[in-house]
Symmetry: C2
Subunit: 166 residues, 2 copies
C-alpha cells in the first residue's frame, strides 16, 4: 500500500490513485459486485430486493461485519465498477476474557485488475479494522499457493483448514 490514511480505518474511505477503498453500499449491486464474487465461488445473481435484504441482514451486525470494496473511481460515474472486495467478520468468544477474533473472508480481485495490489490494500485495511475493534488476532483460510500473498500483509501459517460440504 503506497500510503495509509491517518484517519480511522473503520470509518474513513481511502483513495489511493484511481481506486477508492470503501465500505460496500447497497447500490454496488449495479457495479458488478456479485459477478466479481462469482470469480471466487458460486454466486448466483440476486434481485435488487434480495440483494437489499442480504445487505440489511449483514449491516445489522454493525461493526461485527465489514465488507470493503475497491471501486474504479477514475471512471465516469455510470462506468464505475467494483474491482476487488474482502470481508471481515468478528467472532466473540469466552476465551481471552470475552475476546474477539477477526475472520477475513471472500477476498477476490477482478481478473482484469490483478497485479495492481488492490487485494492487498483491501486485506490490509481489514486487518487494521480488526485491530481497531479490539480483536486479539485475525485469521483467514486460503489455498497453499496463496501463503506468500497473505504473508505480504503479515499473516503467518498457523494450521490446517478442514471442511465438510453438505
Amino acid at each position: 500500500m503506497a500510503s495509509r490514511s491517518p484517519e480511522s480505518a473503520a470509518s474513513v474511505a481511502e483513495t489511493d490513485g484511481s481506486v477508492q477503498i470503501r465500505h460496500l453500499e447497497v447500490s454496488d449491486r449495479e457495479k458488478g459486485f456479485l459477478p466479481l464474487l462469482s470469480q471466487l465461488s458460486a454466486c448466483p445473481e440476486l434481485t435488487a430486493s434480495e440483494f437489499a435484504a442480504c445487505f440489511a441482514d449483514l449491516a445489522a451486525l454493525g461493526d461485527d461485519h465489514v465488507i470493503l470494496v475497491a471501486e474504479d473511481s477514475a471512471a465516469s460515474a455510470p462506468e464505475r465498477r467494483i474491482l476487488a472486495t474482502g470481508c471481515l467478520f468478528v467472532e466473540r468468544k469466552f476465551l481471552r476474557g470475552g475476546g474477539k477474533v477477526g475472520h477475513v473472508e471472500d477476498v477476490v480481485v477482478d481478473a482484469a485488475a490483478r497485479g495492481r495490489g488492490l487485494g492487498l490494500r483491501v486485506v490490509r485495511r481489514l486487518v487494521e479494522i480488526a485491530k481497531e475493534v479490539g480483536c486479539y488476532k485475525v485469521i483467514l483460510d486460503c489455498t497453499p499457493e496463496l501463503r506468500a500473498y497473505y504473508a505480504k500483509c503479515g499473516f503467518v501459517e498457523k494450521g490446517v483448514q478442514m471442511a465438510i460440504y453438505f
Copy 2:
C-alpha cells in the same frame, strides 16, 4: 457416537451413557466451563456478571451461535462438571445466493476425560446443527496433528490457516 437422537439436533439435548450433550447454560460458569476452556487457550476467570454479559451477547445471536457442552450427568447435582465443549457460529454471505457457512471453534475436552469420544460427540452434533440451519459447508481450523481426529467426523483437509496476532 453410539446413537443419534431422532429429534432435532438443534433443539434437543442428547444423553448417551453418563454424559449429556446440551446447550451451554449461564449456570455452567459454576461447573468449570472457563477452566475447561483454559486448557485450550488463555481464558481468565470472569465474574458472574461478566460471564452473564458475555453469555447474553452470544445468546443474542440466536441460531447463529451455538455452544454445546458435555456434562457429567451421572454425578450428583453439586458435583456435575463440564467435560467437553465446542462452538458453532454461522457466517452469512452474499456468495451462494445469501449462503451460510458454519464455523466450528473452541473444541476442548477435559484432560481427565479424554479418550471417551466426548469431543467427537460434540463436534458431530455441531455438524448436524450446521446442516439443519442450512449451511452449505462447515469448516474449522486445527493443528496438523488433529487432521485424523476431525476426519472421524467427516472433515477433509481443504487449505491452510493463516493468522496475525496483535
